[in-house]
Symmetry: C2
Subunit: 457 residues, 2 copies
């Protein structure tokens, strides 16, 4: 490993220059005007994989933007890791707020500033470079490696999902390695081991058959906005528990190890509240903030509308009111079952004086990788070696649907070896990525390949 | 009276032709392109008042559209009635839905079809014609009469309010006679003796200082939409009673006479529910529908918005959510006091985890004229004679702010001698007015002048 590590350390500047070339390609997947740039970027990635010594490098066309696939499978008896990443980036609007050209990377203050610097070019490039370091110094890799870098993550990964379903054999592996999340804090090696799922519903309440004058009719008929408010109120009790029957039935409680990990993180409620500009945090009673964010289901209204919403005072008693209500789910809650329970329950809550229409808009499964999974342990050791600190474990409150697809379809654990920071402005102007994290990322990736090779297949 | 009545009956056709001329003037007050038509219409009204035998007829300029004033004060020792009406009309959009030209009146099916046919040209014209009938046949009126016909009712009567405040002596009277409401049902003589008031509030709840991702943050902080829903829910109890402290303190209960009147109306909940397309009516427990509409205060959300309100499923935990909440008030509730109590109470309802901003948007006083007021009794007898049926008493759930101003500033009862029907499409395409109601209106007005003259001044 020494040669590999030294190679990486002495090539730091080269890596940054190569990353700059990667960042110069305006691979904005959402805009059709960048279609050509997307192909240019896929070619760039495939060339870098070839240069790194990967074999069978292919640009695979899809109905949308192409996938890049590569493999190196010359380590018989050793486990296989599939590295996932994406070469597409978010749009740059509002362009005015950028301090430098989003597609002309600038190094300043120990950071590289450009669209995609963190999300995800900077983070996926570390794995290409770690493979290269092995190949350049050892002529071989310690494990079998596959790469799958897509161009549609920022627009929903639809074509990747289709590809996954049809190519489970090609993509067969013992772990999926993904760097697309954040460090717990700067300089702290972090492995994310869980994501919440989602059940997203829309509820429409209809009262009278047309908008009425709230003077002439107020007091005689149910008001759909008031009824919607009552309904939303009934979905949670005063302790913040969700009142839907069977809602918590399949929730896996925190393990002792998880609780010990959370305790060790010394999360500051005060600092968090200050950042969000609130006087007090709020959530389900009986759980601390990280428990609530990472391993407890929630119910949040994401939108609500009805009646008169302009400036002024129109006295309308509206015919309809609508809310978008989503529930974040945790293992082993099933989004389809939760949507059904929600629907059944909500129907019982509305009075006869109104009608209710409930639509399941979107669902996604939660996922958690056991903290004693050998791949998780290997990743933990690897990042600890690279950063020179004890690795911490986090879960993420949001969902990354494609991770769940990997875990389910390939039957392999996902290793979320995030290297960014929440403050890196990943979907905003002035995106950046710490060059220190970038370097430690290449080292973490290299250590992981080594650690992973010590597992029995 | 016989001569007066015969004169009216034999001039029916003339009245309709004159009303047609009145309706041909497109006096849309809200549109600056009709400024000239407004003056034309004011001149038309003043000429009709002169023709009717009124004296001191004046077109009084305002900052907006002119007022028309007239008087006949040659009945010493007799009471004075002030007739109020408005010559301006609502816009005609959507013009496509009209079956005939809104400004080319058509008589069909016993109705006259045109913009303003009911609201308010048809209804104010009856009083000009009844005065004329007296003057043509008796050369005098049985009481003193003043007319005040404005051109800004459909845009808020602001300039009339100013004029009222400055001209209380000029407008001094013993009753204000207004035909601008509806009959309880076709052919039923109706006197409206009360209007509800209004306190219209806006409540804005702010949670985190920016929109957050509901996955990454859901469960850790209060959601402003959920909190707004909880707040709205707390404003009423399960019996539909409003929970604001001191809210009902000043509410005058129904009198025995009022309850007897309501009972006599045989209001059909089933028919009303069917018309509104609801399976069941809803409102404050312990009161029937007409009681709730006419004499009980209400609380209705008139609008609500927050978060993502487009198609689809965006997972946002919004920073803000806002509702417009209005309360209809009844005598003797004071809109300013109610707004204060609301504000004080709402502040106690929100948790520390969010901030609340409460704005009083608009207020108006309720009014009720005692059912044994001599002017009410005179109007009741008059309409009963004209229609040949017992007069019924109604109140209106909505507010007509200018009526309250008349009552308060002139210290006189308002007689709402409505002649329209709720089905006359007054603010919609194909407005119309029953010719039978028009004729019975002229007769009612004539009988009223006669009945009112029998009161001691």
């Amino acid at each position: 490993m020494k040669e590999v590590i030294n190679h990486i350390k002495s090539n730091k500047e080269n890596y940054i220059n190569e990353l700059k070339d990667y960042l110069r390609i305006p691979s904005v997947s959402t805009s059709s005007s960048h279609k050509k740039d997307m192909l240019t970027c896929a070619k760039f990635v495939s060339n870098k994989l070839k240069d790194a010594g990967m074999t069978k490098v292919k640009i695979i066309p899809t109905k949308g933007h192409p996938l890049v696939y590569a493999e190196w499978l010359k380590a018989p008896g050793k486990p296989t890791v599939l590295v996932y990443g994406h070469y597409d980036v978010q749009p740059v609007d509002p362009i005015k707020l950028w301090k430098s050209d989003p597609f002309e990377p600038v190094v300043k203050g120990g950071k590289i500033w450009a669209r995609g610097a963190n999300d995800n070019k900077g983070q996926n490039f570390v794995h290409i470079k770690s493979v290269e370091a092995f190949m350049k110094t050892q002529k071989k890799l310690p494990v079998n490696v596959k790469f799958l870098i897509e161009g549609e993550e920022e627009i929903g990964s639809e074509n990747l999902e289709l590809f996954l379903k049809k190519n489970q054999k090609l993509l067969k592996c013992d772990a999926v390695l993904i760097s697309d999340t954040s460090l717990y804090a700067e300089g702290i090696p972090t492995i994310n081991y869980g994501l919440r799922g989602l059940a997203y519903m829309e509820v429409e309440i209809t009262g009278p058959n047309k908008d009425l004058h709230s003077g002439s009719f107020g007091g005689s008929v149910a008001n759909p906005i008031n009824e919607l408010a009552k309904l939303i109120n009934k979905l949670q009790d005063k302790n913040g528990k969700i009142t839907i029957p069977n809602f918590y039935k399949d929730v896996i409680p925190f393990t002792k190890k998880e609780n010990a990990n959370i305790k060790s993180l010394n999360f500051s409620d005060a600092k968090y509240a200050k950042e969000l500009g609130v006087n007090e945090l709020q959530g389900e009673k009986g759980f601390n903030t990280l428990q609530r964010l990472w391993g407890r289901p929630t119910l949040d209204c994401n939108g609500i509308w009805g009646g008169f919403t302009e400036e002024g005072a129109k006295t309308v008693l509206p015919s309809k009111a609508t809310a978008k209500i989503s529930m974040r789910l945790v293992p082993n809650q099933n989004p389809d079952l939760i949507a059904k329970e929600f629907t059944k329950y909500v129907k019982t809550l509305v009075p006869k004086s109104v009608k209710v229409k409930i639509t399941a808009m979107h669902g996604g499964s939660p996922v958690v990788i056991p903290l004693d999974d050998p791949a998780i342990l290997a990743a933990s050791k690897a990042t600890s070696k690279a950063f020179g600190k004890k690795t911490v474990y986090t879960r993420e409150g949001g969902s990354i649907p494609i991770v769940v697809d990997f875990v389910k379809l390939l039957n392999a654990p996902a290793i979320l070896m995030g290297l960014g920071l929440d403050s890196d402005n990943i979907h905003s102007p002035n995106e950046h990525f710490s060059l220190k994290s970038f370097e430690l990322g290449v080292l973490s990736s290299a250590y992981f390949l080594d650690e992973f090779s010590q597992l029995n297949k």
